[in-house]
């Protein structure tokens, strides 16, 4: 057993790599050879994880993946625990349908991070995704529970159809953010075009935001300011075309 498992990309990927085998909660039972033998699909053909990554360490639910993984799809998808750190970009579906654990992406995240797998009605149902960069479209789409924090901009349809949970966007949010959400919170510190089906409720200092932002600062070292922690927020309720119990909280300054 080692402190963590490190997967280092041997060579840049040129095609789509289905990497949903990289799920930290499965790794405590696996030695280095078993990890290297995990099945993946590359450009539509079966392969082994070890064909693309050098595996260091074994039997740990802390996993560090190094390299530009913009072509890697489904990193941490469906994970229920453990910690996955991606040192670089991540492809689409990172953390899709995850139920627990933490994913940290130190780079750009592809589309549908924390979202739902094809045909599924629910996205992530628990856990946390921290994206230290920009996020693609449909980030957190249809999520049921959990937390996603994006330090940069988030793409179109972020939080689309959320059932519950929280998405925090420190940059700008793409069009359609929050559309069709039932419950849940989208916290915005940058530009955001609200769907027309959200209605202004009030401007106040939400007590849970203090807790949430302090948590993000202490647990994930996000650069949260005191004016954000203690600040005022415009609350918009929506989506009124749906249940209407969701909210967009727009930071309104100190």
């Amino acid at each position: 057993m080692s402190d963590q498992v490190v997967l280092t990309l041997r060579a840049p990927l040129a095609h789509r790599l289905e990497a949903d085998a990289i799920v930290p909660d499965r790794f405590p039972a696996l030695g280095a050879r078993a990890i290297a033998a995990l099945p993946v699909w590359y450009s539509g053909r079966p392969a082994a994880l070890g064909d693309f990554f050098t595996v260091t360490g074994e039997r740990s639910e802390r996993v560090l993946v190094q390299g530009d993984l913009a072509w890697a799809v489904g990193l941490g998808a469906g994970m229920v625990g453990g910690e996955l750190v991606i040192e670089g970009a991540a492809g689409r579906d990172a953390g899709a349908a995850m139920a627990g654990g933490v994913i940290e992406i130190r780079g750009t995240a592809g589309d549908n991070a924390g979202g739902a797998l094809p045909g599924a009605s629910r996205g992530m149902t628990g856990g946390e995704i921290v994206i230290r960069g920009t996020a693609g479209v449909d980030t957190g789409a249809r999520m049921r529970r959990g937390l996603i924090a994006v330090t940069g901009d988030a793409g179109q349809g972020t939080g689309r159809g959320m059932i519950a949970g929280t998405v925090v966007i420190f940059g700008a949010a793409g069009s359609g953010t929050g559309r069709w959400i039932k419950r849940g919170s989208i916290v915005s510190f940058g530009a955001l075009v609200r769907p027309a089906s959200f209605r202004y409720a009030c401007t106040y200092r939400p007590p849970h935001i203090r807790l949430l932002l302090r948590y993000l600062a202490t647990r994930h070292s996000l650069p949260v300011t005191e004016s954000q922690i203690a600040g005022r927020y415009h609350r918009y309720s929506g989506d009124l075309a749906e249940l209407g119990k969701g909210e967009i909280l727009e930071w309104a300054g100190a």
């Binding site: 929280t166 807790l211 949430l212």
Partner: protein, 301 residues
Amino acid sequence: MQIDGVTIADTFAEAFTMRAARVVITAKNARWARQAATTMTGFATSVIGCKCEAGIERELPEHETLDGRPGVSVLLLTIDKDSLPQRLIERLGQTVLTCPTTACFDGLPDAPDRLRVGKALRVFGDGFQASKVIGGRRYWRIPVMEGEFLVAETFGMQKGVGGGNFLILAEDADSALAAAEAAVEAMSQHPGVILPFPGGVARSGTKVGSKRYANMIATTNDAFSPTLRAITESELPDGVNSVLEIVLDGLDVPSIEAAMRAGIQAACRPGVRAISAGNYGGKLGPHHFPLRRILGAAAPA
């Protein structure tokens, strides 16, 4: 044994196992946190008549609270584990939820026994409430006219100790009160302990039952009542004309002992003749606090 001329009686305080919860109340500023805590711990001196015992444990600076605001830590204890959640629900719902700017957090997050207090309070939101999981713990956001009340979904419960005590036997009422005030001041710095009576002091110590009224479960402690010295089996030494009691509840025995030690030492001052303690012969409570042993532990070799 004497401390500064004050006799330490060769007796012990007898205390009981209770169930305890720690509630952390935060607010916009210390004033409102204190206000909520004071209101919540009102009418909670004794389980005999109040169904629970509660008090302020200590005030918390911003850096010690989850939301970074000033806070107050409150301990609330009941005789049995079944009644603790109900007392919490009643008191948090009526005194903290209603108090401007407050939020309410669990002060025993590692306790395995969980009480669904916030989950019960959430229905005040009439369906408009919402939950948030932050750092693995669920909180409820209850909409109120001011804005929102945030409360932890569950609160931890653990065994506690109720009924630690000592008696200050003084020459007169002024001396007894001054000694009691000094004791309370010294004990208020100790974590894990509360003094549930008014200002930490009880003037009406009790004995179990009644000599005259069958329905009374506790009546005046006539053995320590100066006005009854001549007509009852008094335990008051000569020269004692007033007695005050300090009652302590706490999360564990060491906390009680440390606070008793500090309190008794502070109470040994001019005008005080002796320090004694209340017990029931050692047959009722599982926790015994022999005064001389407790104080001896702190004495220099």
